[in-house]
């Protein structure tokens, strides 16, 4: 059975199955198995290697579970079967190349990869199709032919040529999804680590995303609330201001001049907090799909006293851990007597530490320490 015998409906189905793998990468074995069956191969493998040389996404059919480990163990002698390490780099994309065309079969017997991996499976030729090749990535599809099934002839190669552009396109589109997914994962992780609450909202204040701090605030309804999935504030006046600010952000199409709108609020315990509404650039992507999110709302996190990076203070000023602790309590506004009690030491000891802190940091007054602390306070 070769490609020219395939009914149009069957060909269409096989091609469709390849593109199904874009949204469901776990379907690759099915898509490959279709081609293997249609063209009379025995095995198949699809791999995308990233810049580290690691095979990163991988699907195969007709191979034993331990095949990959075996192949990896002998992988250094694989390039030789194809005419050396650089040989595969010159094959045009989407064009099938046979191992038996690249190097004579007579030379294979001595090759460790052939002897350990291909020979025992009775495979006497491989058709390889380069699918992706750039500075960071090499994507390949390979189909193994068993000796008992004869030679891979031109009709079979024509069959592969029929599927190759679809394999390539599906891998390429899949990689785009991958890249976006990675960007989303990375940037949301960064957002997650920010001490302030961060909420991304749509024009109608619908919550599209909230980071860890914001989720905590929302679940305590302090100082921000979620009402039917919409971001709001408990007091009517600031709530109206928030709605206005987001609407304004939505209308500010270009956000060329990114100006935040600041809204003062009170937490449930009466202490103050501040909301910052920042417009996000709106863009029309592809087929007129509008980006939903129009603004980022940041909420100052609760009154955690500034935590000094102890190791940084030690490195910068040679402060001991005890001195850092006294420094921290001083800028929280405690008196030496209060600090002594909290740390379980005498007031004289606290004064000694404090004297050293002043000396080492070059500060003369408590207020200078406060100013210094604000400069080295952790950003996240």
């Amino acid at each position: 059975m070769t490609a020219s015998d395939i009914a149009p409906e069957r060909l269409s189905d096989l091609i469709g199955a390849i593109y199904d793998c874009v949204l469901a990468p776990e379907s690759w074995p099915t898509a490959l198995e279709n081609i293997v069956e249609e063209l009379g191969f025995a095995t198949s493998a699809l791999s995308v290697h990233d810049h580290t040389g690691e095979a990163t996404s991988f699907a195969s059919t007709g191979l034993e579970p331990d095949w990959l480990q075996l192949a990896l163990r002998h992988s250094t002698s694989l390039p030789e079967l194809w005419g050396g390490p650089g040989a595969i780099l010159h094959v045009p994309l989407e064009e099938p190349i046979l191992q038996s065309e690249a190097t004579p079969r007579s030379t294979w017997r001595e090759n460790p990869y052939y002897r350990a991996v291909l020979g025992p499976m009775g495979i006497h030729d491989i058709a390889m199709i380069p699918l992706v090749r750039d500075s960071r990535t090499l994507g390949l599809a390979a189909f193994g032919q068993r000796e008992i099934d004869g030679e891979v002839d031109e009709r079979v190669k024509d069959g592969l040529r029929l599927f190759a552009p679809h394999l390539r396109r599906a891998v390429t589109i899949g990689r785009l999804f991958e890249q976006h997914a990675m960007a989303i994962a990375t940037f949301s992780e960064v957002l997650e680590s920010i001490a302030a609450g961060a909420v991304l909202v749509d024009e109608a204040l619908g919550i599209v995303h909230a980071n860890a701090t914001a989720r905590r605030m929302l679940s305590n309804s302090d100082p921000i609330l979620s009402r039917g999935g919409k971001l709001c504030l408990s007091a009517a006046l600031p709530n109206a201001v928030l709605g206005d600010a987001v609407r304004q952000a939505a209308q500010n199409e270009s956000a060329m001049e990114r100006r935040s709108i600041d809204i003062p609020v009170r937490r449930n315990d009466g202490s103050p907090a501040v909301l910052q509404v920042l417009p996000l650039r709106r863009r029309t992507i592809g087929r007129a799909v509008e980006q939903r999110t129009v603004a980022a709302v940041f909420v100052s996190s609760a009154a955690d006293p500034p935590r000094l990076p102890a190791d940084a203070m030690a490195l910068l000023f040679g402060l001991t851990p005890a001195e850092v602790r006294v420094f921290e309590l001083i800028i929280e506004g405690m008196t030496p007597a209060e600090i002594a009690q909290q740390l379980g030491v005498t007031v004289a000891t606290v004064r000694t530490h404090l004297g050293r802190v002043f000396e080492k940091t070059g500060c003369a007054r408590q207020a200078d320490l406060v100013a210094l602390a604000s400069k080295v306070t952790l950003t996240v």
Partner: protein
């Protein structure tokens, strides 16, 4: 007609449908090729909002401007009516070519404005539609016009469209999802851009993968971080080494075992200290386990500015006068009343008066209380 088409041509035609995912501009040439291959008169790719009845033709092949413009706006409701109205439209299967004359009797069309005013003058006497998407946004479809000269649609044309229909639907679905993903990714990138601290994403070799707006400014100024041949560095070589080491450590600890950020002291070019924080990132993609480049996020405190206080917000909350708000800000920065008097060109006694009002209005008793209060209302980003 499709039964006569070669396997290669069919494969190319299908491939060009999926090309539209990556290059949406290709819809026009793709639909033109399909229209020609199937011998139909024209073709439009459209989206109709079944609730508002407004529609939009995104791509039109072989249709004049008036047809393309008015199908969605002026005749939006009529186009839906000719198919039997919104409810009937709900009942049609997706991915299946539906012949209009088989769905509703031709006799009913004569009362339809769309048919009378737009189709008859163009000698279009039937239509085959493949419905592709039906969701909260509306109904997406590809419709082929059938000219009077072609006679009835015929089974072979329908067979050809049946072969292509699943590819149209899959391409539109994948394209929509890809757009959504791209939009979400762009939103997160921009949210990080809003953060006042510098944020630099680096790979394990400290190579810069991404810098937010604030970090970009710092990198341009080379203060306190700089871009050395694409690698993140600080102005001080010792700190640079410590930074590189911290990044490497972050990359190696990978996984979520114990993700601890590492703090590095640094100085601005004017000697003032600042904080740099290296935060390890998950390197494995949730989708495929692919390893990504960014291994760590490096946060750099924004310049040596004191924490920014929203003057307006404070004044609003505590009804401070502008002068009181200014005194508040300077006290929080660590200035003495005498210094404040100098800065604002006021008498020390005036400053003390302002300060006592601030204490009174905020309910604070000491300067350090004001500092604590200020840290509450410092702008979060």
């Amino acid at each position: 007609m499709m039964p006569m088409i070669t396997r290669e041509r069919l494969s190319d035609l299908i491939g060009s449908i999926y090309d539209c995912i990556l290059v949406p501009e290709r819809w026009e040439s793709t639909l033109a090729a399909v229209t020609e291959q199937t011998g139909l008169s024209n073709c439009v790719l459209s989206m109709h909002n079944t609730r508002t009845k407004a529609g939009q033709i995104h791509v039109g092949v072989g249709v004049d401007e008036a047809f393309q413009e008015e199908a969605g706006v002026k005749y939006g409701a009529a186009v839906l009516d000719i198919w039997g109205g919104p409810q009937r439209l709900e009942s049609f299967p997706l991915e299946e070519p539906i012949v209009q004359s088989q769905a509703t009797p031709r006799s009913t069309w004569l009362a339809n404005d769309w048919y009378r005013e737009m189709c008859i003058p163009r000698k279009l006497h039937d239509c085959v539609t493949i419905f592709l998407v039906r969701d909260s946004h509306g109904l997406g479809a590809i419709a082929f016009g059938v000219g009077e000269d072609l006679g009835e649609v015929g089974e072979d044309r329908l067979a050809a469209l049946r072969v292509l229909a699943p590819h149209f639907r899959r391409a539109v679905t994948i394209g929509g999802l890809l757009d959504q993903q791209a939009g979400t990714a762009a939103t997160f990138v921009e949210a990080i851009d809003c953060v006042a601290a510098g944020v630099v994403l680096v790979d394990e070799g400290a190579e810069i993968v991404h810098a937010n707006a604030s970090a970009d400014t710092m990198l341009r100024a080379g203060n306190p971080i700089s871009d050395r041949n694409g690698r993140l560095a600080t102005s001080n070589s010792i700190t640079s080494d410590v930074l590189a080491e911290a990044i490497l450590q972050s990359a190696q600890c990978d996984a979520s075992l114990e993700r601890r950020s590492i703090n590095i002291p640094a100085r601005h070019s004017d000697g003032t200290p600042t904080a740099i924080q290296v935060l390890p990132l998950q390197q494995r993609s949730p989708r495929s386990g692919l390893k990504q480049r960014a291994a760590a996020a490096v946060f750099v405190a924004k310049s040596a500015d004191p924490p920014r206080l929203p003057g307006d917000a404070l004044s609003l909350l505590y009804k401070l006068t502008p002068a009181e708000a200014k005194v508040f800000e300077l006290v929080v920065e660590g200035k003495t009343p005498a210094e404040i008097a100098g800065l604002l060109a006021l008498k020390v006694t005036t400053v003390r008066t302002h300060l006592s009002r601030v204490f009174e209005k905020t309910g604070c008793a000491r300067q350090s209380d004001l500092v604590a209060l200020a840290s509450n209302v410092t702008l979060p980003v």
